[in-house]
């Protein structure tokens, strides 16, 4: 699984800001949905800036910025030690920054039934959420959403793609 983490930063795109914060936006029904590009997490632009983000700060901030995908084994929502350590960083960061909010997006690979996979994705998101809460993040900083197998990060019907698709993305909603 470590391999995938190295790939992660390359997947991130800096996307100009979200027009609405979380919840059920009434303006989210156009072709842009939530106002962000699908799959690519949003972070780091300052309102009114020209679109280039400048991540700064200590190492912990860098981790929060760059390492935001948790991977899972087949049909499992269990977190391995490395994932728990990463989530501790995010949890402490959220505790220190109560203004931050994250959306935890649970995903599965394409195998099996679609609606059951919605359940698996939700279970993964909740598993991540519980670690963040233990680390001091507040309930109102966290939201879960399950996309099941509907939003793969990688295409293909092999274990490499499946491994990248069984994930929870931690999406900072700034």
């Amino acid at each position: 699984m470590k391999i995938f983490k190295l790939l992660v930063p390359a997947l991130f795109l800096v996307v100009a800001g979200c027009s609405s914060k979380g919840g059920l936006s009434t303006d989210g029904m156009g072709t842009d949905g939530m106002g962000t590009d699908d799959g690519a997490s949003t972070y780091g632009t300052i309102d009114g800036a020209d679109g280039s983000a400048t991540p700064i700060g200590d190492d912990r901030d860098a981790i929060v910025m760059n390492d935001r995908i948790i991977y899972f084994a087949f049909d499992s929502a269990e977190l391995d030690d490395a994932s728990i350590e990463l989530l501790r960083q995010h949890g402490r960061y959220l505790a220190d920054n109560p203004g931050e909010k994250v959306r935890l997006e649970g995903h599965t690979d394409e195998r099996g039934s679609r609606e059951y996979n919605i359940g698996l994705g939700e279970r993964r998101a909740v598993s991540v959420q519980s670690v963040l809460l233990v680390q001091g993040a507040a309930v109102n900083q966290l939201a879960t959403v399950s996309f099941g197998e509907e939003r793969p990060a990688a295409l293909g019907s092999d274990e490499t793609a499946y491994g990248q698709n069984r994930r929870v993305e931690i999406v900072y909603e700034r």
């Binding site: 059920l24 936006s25 989210g28 029904m29 156009g30 072709t31 842009d32 949905g33 939530m34 590009d37 699908d38 799959g39 049909d75 394409e110 195998r111 099996g112 039934s113 679609r114 609606e115 059951y116 919605i118 359940g119 698996l120 939700e122 279970r123 998101a125 909740v126 959420q129 879960t144 959403v145 399950s146 996309f147 099941g148 509907e150 939003r151 793969p152 990060a153 295409l155 019907s157």
Partner: protein
Amino acid sequence: MTLLRARIMLLCACLCLSQALRAELTIEITKGQGEAVPVAIVPFGWDGPGPKPYEIARVVSSDLARSGRFAPIAEKDMLQKPTAVADIDFGDWRIIDTEVVVIGRITPAGVGRYQMEFRVFDVFRGEQLLGYRLSSDTAGMRGAAHKISDLIYEKLTGIRGVASTRVAYVSVRGDRLKPTYRLIVADADGENATTLMESRQPIMSPAWSPDGRKLAYVSFENGQSQVFVQELRTGARRRVSARKGVNSAPTWSPDGRRLALTLSKGDGNLDIYLLEISNQVLTRLTNWPSIETEPSWSKDGSEVFFTSDRSGGPQVYKVSAKGGNPKRVTFEGGYNARPRVSPDGTKVAVVHNDRGNYRIAVVDVERAYTQVLTEGSLDESPAFAPNGEMLIYASRAGGRGVLSTVSVDGRFEQRLAAEEGEIREPAWSPFPIN
């Protein structure tokens, strides 16, 4: 929700109701059946001036072929093409082993209207089995042809035909990681594909209302799964469930008044609820810490079948619609999910893990006997035809999502593919209300 609000939502979601996005499907028979009855649908005669307004026989032939029960002979192999009873030479048809011959005529019946009559003959006895007269305008000719197919099918098999039914499905096109999702309804033969809803966010789980006039489905257009109900004729729709967390897997009670659906209510625990559509009264049907989802009603509405992984892996259970203790239904194999109850209530179709391959199986409800019907590796979303003779399901062909139908005995299979992109999550409509 007011009608105005519903209208605005329609516009915002870029609904392309009845627009000419004709995602035409191609149909290919991928697995034949030895015992199909040879029939001849002779081209109908035309009593009016100018060219024949419609090739009824062509539509009827392909409808009967798609049923898997009949093998219509090619027009070029017909030794004669009678259009009146007196012109039929049964000997000619016996020579080429045709068992049933259908002849017909179209006559003008006023401006833009036609009368069609057809007769069905048993070749060996030389007897008429069936005869009907129908009338239609130009636009209704295709529908009339499907009706003729259904009358013939029912006469010959004793089972109601499905040529006049429709199929809803989800089409996924464009950039594969950022596609456009469409909810489409087409005739059972893939024609007249109409887009009901279009979104850049996933659309899932279309489900027909029992009267065939509405679809319930899941849309992520607001950033999370929510359940909508949309009228086919007007395109008007309502958001019926947008509770915190998962709102998913809607299916209609047989009386059309309730939806069974899956909610997580924000605590991450998926359970099945019944939602009274008119007044939003919600009743919790299951309460278990595992995943409970994919409800499917029994025909009489007394029971709800569902998927639960309370035993470890997903298996099918059933529970009284009034609540109570669920009873396990599937026992063979470690993965049985997404039940759909057959129209006669004796079987459930499931997604079944068969030695690492996800395939469609039917499970006998009483005896728990499992029969695997398909041969793919990623088959899913089975749905029964309203007459219970066939299942439609989603599968892969050449790395692409296609739909397939398979007869309930697994012997006859055909594939429906879109010209472009993927299609999936098929739902077969109920019989049309006459």
